[in-house]
Symmetry: D2
Subunit: 148 residues, 4 copies
């Protein structure tokens, strides 16, 4: 089954992503994960200002990342075109994670994961996920979500 | 007159581009300049491997940046969609610069400049520009280039 | 005459600062400029929270960078130890610039410049520099500044 | 027991490390991990050029990162002084990992992990760790390592 269109993105490795070994410098993959998450929300129809803070707009709910990981299978070099597939997963009423798989035309090249926790501003107490994130999680899972 | 299509690009400000003032952190603009230069070459038809080093392929000519500058007119926040226009200019047989203008739908927001020098590997002596760069410079200037 | 101690800093080029050409990726120099500016203020005795925004603390005056530039004289490679000298200069009552020179033991390797403008929050109107910045500018110039 | 001096480092959170939420942007922690690993080798007495590629010097053994992870316990803001403790662990003859703990004066704030694999250039086949890395691993573990 084809994934939802907002869950399959593309990008190209740029010169500034590489290091003196000639390949992508490893923390860049986690930057790409977050940018893919932002682009996915945007393609789905969520405005950045609903989820990410901007000057003068204090959001009621922040979504800090509490864990991330990445695995690197093959070197990526400048100019490589990669496909990024996202698999968002709700963990409970107040947290979710996103799994990211990176493929070049022929191969799996890397995978990443970010885990996000909803907290209230300014108390920093745990709370429920924002509505926009819930809609994105549900649509991404095509009704496969069990009642919470 | 509309610019060549490979000279008008777009990008969106991402959360990781911002700092605690809520706006784009200033050196990111110069990263965007270089990524726009790479994307422009790619759209024009130059493969990354012709211009940028990859492992095991030593290029005869390197193009280090010897100068850059940027001016910031308005704050950019997460989610802002910007248009980047490039104006490549040959300076002499062995160097060129690229001027970049950044606009949001209504306003000029910033401008940047990178200056590139051709040098031979491994001597690091000045030399002529690679053919691929010359083709891009000439096509970008629509024949406005004087005979060299 | 020896510079003030808070105006002569050191750092080492790290692997993540380099790109596939094996040398420092050019926008990193401007990151180093800003980090040197922050470290200089800290060594002089200005707390970061007096000048840079932190969550829940809105500063009355912001100091956005309105211009920057850099010149690159020699390649920097991973492990290079460099000295950074800062020369802060007040431009008028509401703006200043910092000039940075980068040297390896034997050579000038690069120079940079950042220009900062004081603006009021949230109106974004121009205003006078914060007291902490004025003290740092004056002490850095050893009394050569005239009374304002 | 006090750790070896090359395994306890310090750094300060800088403005460019933060994002619009006012706190450290999460991939920066993994940059700090790698910089701490480089600084630890340097303090121990290993020259960067023994382990990291520089232009014109092809190393026989590369040490790509094949896995990384991070956990974030508390927000870090601009100006925070943190201590980084490294715990290097040999996994087998051709791989090792480094565990990093980040503490502010009163609290554990984050932890990270990088896993490194030795491969031969240019075949990219697995091989034994370089001598310099073996010495660092052994000294870091105070003789607790068995002869190989």
């Amino acid at each position: 089954m084809a994934p939802q269109p907002w869950l399959a993105l593309t990008r190209t490795v740029r010169f500034g992503d590489t290091d003196a070994a000639g390949v992508m410098h490893f923390p860049q993959l986690l930057r790409w994960c977050h940018e893919a998450y932002e682009e996915s929300l945007e393609c789905f129809g969520v405005a950045a200002a609903e989820v990410f803070p901007t000057p003068g707009s204090v959001l009621e709910v922040a979504l800090p990342i509490v864990h991330c990981s990445a695995d690197y299978f093959r070197p990526l070099v400048c100019g490589d075109a990669i496909t990024i597939r996202l698999e968002p997963v709700r963990l409970d009423l107040g947290s979710f994670e996103v799994r990211y798989s990176f493929t070049s035309p022929d191969h799996a090249v890397a995978q990443g994961l970010t885990r996000h926790l909803a907290i209230e501003n300014p108390s920093r107490r745990r709370c429920g996920l924002p509505t926009a994130i819930n809609r994105w999680l549900e649509a991404s899972n095509l009704g496969g979500i069990q009642p919470v």
